[in-house]
């Protein structure tokens, strides 16, 4: 879960950050946030799989999660 690592690197530099991942990497993300010092850090969990979606399907799925992403990056969380 290198994207979790990248997310933490942004946080270390004072930049609020989050990451999109699918359910298959959920446990890995929870574990990595915990062992790298950010237990409970939020992330945006998409259903799995997404790699075989059409571009249109991927866009409309993403649209449903942007609000959650914004909440994680602002004081709305």
């Amino acid at each position: 879960m290198c994207s979790v690592h990248d997310t933490i690197e942004f946080e270390k530099r004072g930049i609020p950050a989050t990451v999109f991942l699918t359910q298959v990497f959920k446990n890995a993300a929870v574990y990595q946030f915990r062992t790298k010092g950010m237990e409970g850090h939020p992330f945006v969990e998409l259903p799995h799989p997404v790699s075989n979606l059409t571009t249109e399907q991927m866009r409309s799925l993403t649209e449903r999660y942007v609000d959650e992403m914004v909440a994680q990056l602002t004081q709305r969380a």
Partner: protein, 96 residues
């Protein structure tokens, strides 16, 4: 490391270092947002969609997208440093 049972605990435990959550703004209006594409298929579609919505609905001033070398590798420190100079908010995709 020796346990009460006379065995040695083989685990190392985490580093114990805690990282503080960066302070969150009230909203994203006028902010510069950085999106990090890890090259995995669909990451580009997800981030393009996010960029569009952030600009149209959340009043984000500017969105900067960068692509790292490979999804199985962390972004380089230099890449994160460069982005951190330009952006106030960041999101990465995709673990999938």
């Amino acid at each position: 490391m020796a346990s009460d049972l006379g065995f040695i605990d083989p685990t190392a435990g985490g580093s114990g270092v805690k990282v503080a959550l960066a302070p969150r703004p009230k909203d994203l209006a006028g902010k510069v947002v950085g999106l990090l594409d890890n090259t995995k298929e669909q990451a580009d579609v997800i981030l393009e969609t996010v960029a569009e919505i952030l600009r149209n609905r959340y009043g984000v001033a500017k969105v900067i997208t960068r692509r790292k070398e490979h999804y199985s590798k962390p972004a380089t420190g230099a890449m994160i440093d460069d982005m951190a100079k330009e952006v106030q908010i960041a999101a990465a995709a995709l673990g999938g």
